[in-house]
């Protein structure tokens, strides 16, 4: 408080009574505890109309695909593993968009004027968003597992052909995609641009690395879709982990780092 009383010598005072007691700030660490920031950010992902619809569309798409496959698909492929593979297709596409929206809303809807006033340490808000998106992905994935199991029992082969490697690989791959969504959201801080980029850029790159011979070697290391292939199959071996790490570093960690830097330094208007 010494600096303030020094300040009053030179700083002109406006309003109030001189005799009024000087208020004291609440004691404690700056900002708010992380658990509350996390809960608030998680809640914000599903409490808007668009957020809720994303979850509903994902669930409906997965349910429709499962039902369709059980009814019309080749009966011998309708095992637990086959069904779960199908159910995760819409998730792999739509979960990153939830990540994007979580990251961009503060800027496109300007809610950052409230969020960053309640927690000025923006890095923690970014972390809460990333963890929130990952948590939500795990919940949605658990629902997909339950739906696939149900489909398997009711209309599938009833075969439980799932290995720990496939299960773990599927979870890891989906989490990488979700984090990529968050990273692209933070990088562009603009919802449409980030969504289009996260859907189109990897595809364009994928086509380029397949079509252009000179890019094929690079593609084996830097194509997220290719390197997550063995992960979904549960067949990660030798170089596969190094390839996954390289791709994830370029497609997820790099945009995440640049995007976080942008959020920390950008003026909130």
């Amino acid at each position: 408080m010494s600096t303030t009383s020094l300040g009053t010598d030179t700083t002109p005072v406006v309003g109030g009574r001189a005799a009024a007691p000087t208020p004291t700030p609440l004691a404690g660490q700056p900002g708010v505890p992380f658990s509350r920031t996390y809960r608030a950010e998680l809640r914000k992902m599903v409490d808007t109309r668009s957020g809720r619809w994303m979850v509903i569309v994902m669930a409906a798409a997965a349910a429709l695909i499962l039902a369709g496959f059980v009814i019309w698909g080749p009966a011998e492929d309708a095992s637990f593993r086959g069904l779960l593979g199908l159910a995760t297709l819409p998730l792999a596409m739509l979960l990153p968009i939830i990540g994007v929206m979580a990251a961009t809303a503060e800027w496109s809807q300007r809610t950052g004027l409230v969020t960053f006033v309640l927690e000025p340490r923006r890095g923690r808000v970014v972390l809460a968003k990333a963890l929130g998106a990952l948590s939500l992905a795990v919940v949605v994935l658990a629902a997909a597992v339950a739906a696939s199991a149900l489909a398997n029992v009711t209309g599938g082969t009833g075969e439980w052909d799932m290995t720990a490697a496939i299960a773990g690989g599927t979870v890891l791959a989906l989490l990488v995609y979700v984090l990529q969504g968050v990273a692209f959201g933070l990088l562009f801080l603009n919802t449409p641009v980030a969504i289009v980029s996260v859907l189109v850029l990897p595809t364009v790159w994928s086509i380029a690395t397949t079509a252009i011979t000179s890019l094929q070697d690079v593609g084996r290391w830097l194509n997220l879709d290719t390197v997550t292939g063995p992960l979904f199959e549960g067949e990660m071996a030798g170089q596969d982990w190094a390839r996954l790490a390289t791709s994830a570093a370029v497609w997820v960690l790099l945009p995440l780092a640049i995007g976080t830097w942008r959020v920390l330094h950008r003026e909130v208007k």
């Binding site: 406006v14 309003g15 004291t24 900002g31 809807q109 950052g112 309640l118 909130v268």
Partner: protein, 298 residues
Amino acid sequence: MITIENLTKRYGGFTAVDDISFEVRPGSVVGFLGPNGAGKSTAMRMMTGLTPPTSGRATLLGQTYREVHNPGRQVGVMLDASAQHPGRTGREVLRVAAVSIGVSKARVDEVLGLVGLTEEEAGRRVRNYSLGMRQRLGIAAALLGEPQVLILDEPANGLDPQGIHWMRGLLRRFADGGGTVLLSSHLLHEVQIVADDLVMIGRGRIVAMGSKEELLSRGGTTVRSTDDVRLASLLERADVPVTKIGSGLVVDAEPGVVGRIAADERVVLLELRSGGSEGLEEMFLGLTAATSREGDAA
């Protein structure tokens, strides 16, 4: 308590806020008045840690914003009532803030009542809110953590005259309880109703500050009577400097002095008010004109 010391913000060659200093003491409702683009919002964003100052600093309760423990419990902030996710309901906006601040759901209902948003309105999505309702929601969010300091950017914008008077009552009670309020406005008339003290800013610099009465009485007293010529000579005889203006006189004295002379000499007064040709209003209009001539700054 809000302390601003030599706060400056430059964007390239443009100086949005130019070396402003003032302290708002507890118990006061201070209006931060200036035309659009004068630097009010930039200054308020610097106070709340959203914009890094080029130089100088702002402290709240003796701490910079980033040092404040649980800011929502100590400083209520509303920087733009329109900056809300349109897909959230009013109540949900407050619930999310309540999670972050760490206050109960009951407090959410309490502040909704405090700002006069009904149950039905709170359940509506912000998309369907009028500007006045968004202002009320923003003020509810600012009050949520029972703070000691309020920083509100254009809170009366979009409120009807009744709403502006309601806000005056709300902020007055807050200040009477020992709170500190700084609110901005680009409308003199509006801020005159809501605030007791004023800090006037134009093109990034503070041009005047003080109590409303003090600023309004600056430049003497304007008086108009049925016989201005006689009144002018009576005032001159009493050694009070008088200037003749378009309709009436500007007198360099308190309204009481002029009124007493008029009463003693039985001159019928048609108008008697604080503020002459150099009053707050003229000063404000001068600022507005100067700024608008320069085009839209910031």
